[in-house]
């Protein structure tokens, strides 16, 4: 009997690492440990013995207790009902767990991710006829998952053959049969086995979901954050990191991207961070409106939570659970953004397990495979041609929490080698409450040229030169600050002082953007460019005046400059015209000074 074959016993417990006797168990297989029924995963095999990492605390487990093989690897349930939900690191639904076990999470609860009783209105795909050949990614039909998102019901990646049955339109729970596909892989004329398909399927999370082909990213992920979109742009399908010491603003950056980006689907993975940060999302997203669709943000968002006080092994799993769900929506042709806060905690979970296994640590206790695992995680981001739903993408943005804010530590330095967009947060900027504290000197984006094409077409052909000019001013600012520190401000020429003023306008009028400001929390690309152009036009015009001999103090005392710094909060993204007319007003004021000067010079 298979049952007796699949069950064995616990031999040894060493924290989350449990050695079991279980003949026939496979590497990666899920195992139920002990009387509590703690779930774990086989990480190595030797003879009849298997080493298991458990997702919950093993306190109280004794040698001799049962160990049962479940027959499948760690998998995610993929189907309608994920959006709007919050799941733990192994995809258990936390809201249901709260109903079942109260305010604290009890051990050994086994609850499936998806609601078994909920009915979904299924619309079959009209284009499909019985007898048609279907394969991975074929769209069998649709379900309106939330008011914003149409859920495409896909043939799972491992099924191919002839469609022999397709359910008519109607209400179904996720376990009802909606299609039958006769396997055709055998290549013979004999009818193969039949696959019964329902609204959901399972997928092993450590295996990337397949797609037809990988494509280059072509359009920027607009986040509504100026320093990101206008200076260090990310692409849909890109991979990026946000490193920074505690308090620098990693979580706020990630939450801002979750709120305001033009992705179709947002997956927010709280990996080893604060419980209240997830509550913040859970309480505010159902109220906030998506600036692109006008619908509530929670309708396109789902959360994975393994907070810092939850078990460490599930922390390692949480990233893969998140990625698998991200790929699943990508396969429906959506642009998905996944935020992982923080990948450092994921790496620490790896370190914890590796230490227990007695593996040789290489740097700061991390195992030698840290870099390759990290790379494999980020590799799952990308824009792809899906099998049956056109183009889709997963953008992965990971927060990195370097100990002591030291960017040379292993996780930050390996991550830096892998990603394409690096938003480096600076403690100095954060301490001065310059938010977002993305440091313009050490941050980079490999996507500026691709993004430029989009900006030039959609917003303004001057985007790239304006961006370069602003960065140039900021670089001058740093140079001049060094000079001032050596010889004092009196040594600066008027031209140099105006450069300092220009840089200050860029910083305060453009770069600084408070997530807490109701108006400025989101800034459309048009408004972004209008502000940048406003500041730089003033700088250019002023620089000419200074050349003519107008004293800088006269320019600095211009009453409009205070408004330039405040403009971002005064006009919202629909009021770009007001920014432009204000720009004309300042332009005229400067022109007046020029004329007066010209007159004086003539008189002299």
């Amino acid at each position: 009997m298979t049952d007796t074959q699949r069950s064995g016993r616990v031999r040894e417990i060493n924290g989350p690492i449990v050695t079991i006797d279980l003949p026939g168990v496979r590497s990666g297989e899920q195992v139920k440990i002990g009387e509590l029924g703690l779930i774990g995963e086989v990480i190595s095999l030797s003879g009849e013995q298997a080493v298991v990492q458990t997702y919950e605390s093993t306190d109280g487990v004794r040698p001799g207790e049962p160990a049962v093989g479940l027959g499948w690897p760690l998998s995610a349930e993929l189907g309608p009902g994920l959006l709007g939900g919050i799941f733990d690191g192994v995809q258990r639904p936390l809201e249901k767990i709260a109903m079942e076990s109260g305010d604290y999470i009890r051990r050994g609860l086994a609850l499936p991710a998806l609601d078994r009783t909920k009915q979904w209105d299924f619309e079959p795909n009209d284009a499909l006829e019985l007898g048609a050949r279907v394969g991975p990614g074929t769209v069998l039909g649709t379900v309106q998952e939330t008011a914003t998102i149409v859920h495409k019901v896909l043939v799972p990646p491992n099924v191919q053959g002839e469609l022999t049955e397709l359910a008519p339109a109607g209400a179904y729970d996720i376990e009802s049969t909606i299609a039958q596909v006769r396997d055709a892989r055998s290549g013979t004329t004999q009818p193969g086995p039949s696959h019964r398909l329902s609204l959901y399927h399972r997928w092993p999370v450590r295996r990337p979901r397949p797609y037809a082909q990988r494509d280059d990213g072509i359009s920027p992920l607009i986040t509504g954050q100026r320093v990101i979109d206008s200076f260090f742009p990310q692409l849909k399908g890109g991979k990026g990191a946000v490193p920074g010491p505690f308090g620098a603003g990693k979580t706020v950056v990630q939450q801002q991207v979750a709120r305001w980006s033009n992705a179709d689907i947002v997956i927010y993975v709280g990996c080893g961070e604060r419980g209240n940060e997830l509550v913040d999302v859970l309480e505010t997203f159902p109220q906030l409106e998506d600036p692109y669709t006008g619908r509530k943000l929670m309708e396109k968002t789902l959360l994975v939570a393994n907070t810092s006080n939850m078990p460490v092994v599930a922390r390692e799993a949480s990233i893969y659970i998140g990625l698998t769900m991200a790929e699943y929506y990508r396969d429906m042709g959506y642009d998905v953004v996944m935020l992982a806060d923080s990948t450092s905690r994921w790496a620490e979970a790896l370190r914890e397990v590796s230490g227990r296994l007695g593996q040789m640590p290489v740097e700061e206790g991390y195992p030698a495979y840290l870099a390759s695992r990290l790379a494999a995680v980020y590799e799952r981001a990308g824009r792809v041609e899906t099998y049956g739903a056109g183009s889709g993408s997963v953008t992965l943005i990971g927060a990195v929490s370097p100990p002591g804010g030291d960017f040379s530590e292993p996780v930050t330095s390996h991550t830096k080698d892998i990603i394409e967009t690096f938003w480096a947060l600076s403690k100095e900027l954060a301490d001065a409450r310059h938010y977002p504290s993305i440091d313009w000197v050490t941050s980079f984006s490999a996507h500026v040229h691709t993004a430029a094409e989009w900006w030039h077409e959609q917003v303004d052909p001057a985007w790239e030169p304006r961006r370069a000019q602003a960065l140039g001013l900021l670089a001058r600012d740093a140079e001049l600050a060094r000079i001032v520190n050596l010889v004092g401000p009196e040594a600066l020429s008027d031209t140099q002082r105006w450069e300092l003023e220009g840089a200050s306008l860029v910083k305060e009028g453009v770069l600084q953007q408070s997530a807490l400001d109701e108006v400025d929390t989101f800034c459309s690309p048009q408004k972004q460019f209008a502000l940048l152009d406003l500041v730089l036009s003033i700088y250019d015009q002023g620089a000419e005046l200074v050349e003519l001999g107008v004293p800088v103090s006269e320019l600095q005392n211009l009453p409009q400059l205070a408004k330039v710094r405040r403009c971002k909060s005064m006009y919202n993204s629909d009021q770009v015209d007001s920014i432009r007319s204000f720009a004309r007003e300042v332009g005229e004021a400067l022109e007046k000074i020029r004329l007066e000067y010209a007159k004086q010079n003539q008189a002299a």
Binding site: R11, E12, I13, N14, G15, T58, D59, G60, R62, P63, G64, I86, L94, E95, I97, A98, G102, D103, Y104, I105, P245, F246, G247, G270, G272, R274, G275, N276, V279, L282, E283, A305, S308, N309, P311, V312, E348, R351, E352, G355, P361, E364, G365, S401, P403, G404, D406, D431, A432, R433, N485, V487, G488, P489, E508, S514, L516, P559, R566, S569
Partner: protein, 459 residues
């Protein structure tokens, strides 16, 4: 349940002993070891196999004669008895009385380890607590259910500040005070006495539970102490509906005790000898604070973390800062200038401030005032730095204004009396007084409406 006792200890090395022929001992079980003189040591099962277990002996294995010891598996976790009688009492890390009075009797006993709060069961903390301290209330506000540590250094007045917060903390326009859970780990007798006297003289003693482990008490007990204290706090908050303020001092000694045990276990160290799991371990403690749906009480936490060598990047303050919802950082420089409380605002932060302040909670100008003061002070510190290089005489008119602001701010806003309980209005008015020394156009973080209402300067 029968208690298992064994004489089969076979090996001892570096704080660990191996005991053989022990079928079915549970992982994590508590162990009591008795030697031939009748002296006992405590331990814990850190690896359990069929035929042998590995035990970590908290007091170490020096002078342990293996042939003469009895090893007893207690088969139960550390528990504490819970009842309203806890208030006004003093206990050790295991919940045993330290005040010479009889143990608390109750049918309600709970394991101190706790389990993780389901994030879906939490409510976001948003109620402003007025501490009467300007740098906290005005710039780094504390809210009910927040964990906001004080980062300090040896010799700095963190205990006095913590005590002042305990004395003055209240909700705005409300008198209901907090119940206090005080957890002392590895502190000196004098420090413990300071708090005891402080609670007594301010008349709150009836509302305080103290858990104390002094510098010369067993360090291992330090590992359970915060958990015991928090179990009591959870009981007061969620079963007796109290608002609880937990003061813990000093988390650095807690972490050092953890390092000692980890080293004995042979755990792979991450930074400065601290084990890689220090982060998760600290999080298990700090994350027990918060607000929960449908529960009336709350747990607010003010841990004291002394930074070894005043180094904020040291693993203990660093990992704490990664977990807590901000930090109040004390500065030796301000302290040496005689400024109390010497709060250095630049590295200080309250992450939960945003939802606890503003129009309906404190005053509508509060968020912008905080942002503006921070911006001015950051610039002022740069200027002070510049002045120290090139001399104040070389500064421009504008810069000299900043310099003056830095001094006024330190003296008048940061500095205040130890018994001075400033209302939030007083704090905000003081802020406007300082800001009004600048021309109106320079206060770009303020809105025109706020300037019209509160600006007191001439231009």
């Amino acid at each position: 349940m029968s208690i298992k006792e064994y004489r089969t200890a076979s090996e001892a090395r570096g704080g660990l002993i191996v005991v053989r022929d022990t079928p079915g001992v549970a992982f994590g079980d508590r162990v009591r070891i008795t030697d031939e003189r009748g002296e006992t040591r405590d331990g814990q099962v850190i690896r359990a196999a069929d035929d042998e277990v590995l035990i970590l002996v908290f007091e170490g294995t020096d002078d342990l004669d293996l042939s003469g010891i009895w090893v007893r598996f207690l088969d139960q976790p550390v528990e504490i008895a819970l009842s309203p009688e806890l208030l006004g009492r003093e206990f050790n890390g295991l919940g045993e009385p330290r005040d010479g009075r009889p143990p608390v009797l109750s049918n309600l006993r709970r394991a101190v380890g706790g389990s993780a709060i389901n994030p879906a069961a939490r409510t976001y903390p948003r109620e402003f607590i007025q501490t009467g301290v300007s740098t906290i209330d005005g710039l780094n506000s504390l809210v009910r259910g927040q964990k906001l540590p004080i980062f300090s250094g040896s010799g700095l007045p963190h205990n006095r500040l913590a005590a002042q917060i305990v004395r003055q903390a209240k909700l705005k326009d409300e008198d209901s005070s907090f119940s206090i859970v005080f957890a002392a780990m590895g502190v000196s007798y004098a420090d413990a006495k300071f708090f005891r006297d402080e609670f007594a003289s301010s008349g709150v003693l009836r509302n305080v539970v103290m858990f104390v482990n002094l510098a010369d008490d067993p360090p291992v007990e330090r590992l359970t102490l915060p958990r015991t204290a928090l179990t009591a706090a959870e009981y007061l908050a969620y079963e007796l509906d109290r608002h609880v303020l937990v003061v813990m001092t000093d988390m650095t000694y807690y972490a050092e005790a953890l390092r000692e045990v980890a080293t004995a276990k042979g755990d792979v160290p991450a930074r400065k000898g601290y084990p890689g799991y220090l982060y998760s371990d600290l999080a298990e403690i700090y994350e027990r604070c918060g607000r929960i749906h449908n529960r009336h009480g709350s747990i607010t936490m003010v841990p004291v973390v002394s930074m070894p060598s005043d180094d904020i990047t040291h693993p203990i303050p660093d990992l704490t800062g990664y977990i807590t919802e901000g930090q109040i950082v004390l500065s030796r420089e301000l302290h040496n200038q005689g400024i109390y409380p010497p709060v250095h605002i630049s590295p200080s932060l309250s992450r939960l401030m945003k939802d606890g302040i503003g129009k309906d909670d404190t005053r509508e100008d509060h968020p912008h005032v905080a942002a503006q003061l921070y911006a001015l002070y950051a610039r002022a510190l740069e200027t002070r730095n510049l002045a120290s290089i090139i001399g104040a005489d070389e500064l421009s008119e504008r810069d000299r204004r900043y310099l003056k602001f830095a001094d006024d701010f330190d003296q008048a806003f940061v500095g205040q009396g130890e018994s001075e309980d400033r209302s939030i209005e007083a704090t905000l008015n003081l802020a406007w007084e300082l800001m009004s020394k600048f021309p109106r156009d320079m206060l770009t973080r303020m809105s025109e409406t706020e300037l019209a209402k509160y600006y007191q300067g001439s231009a």
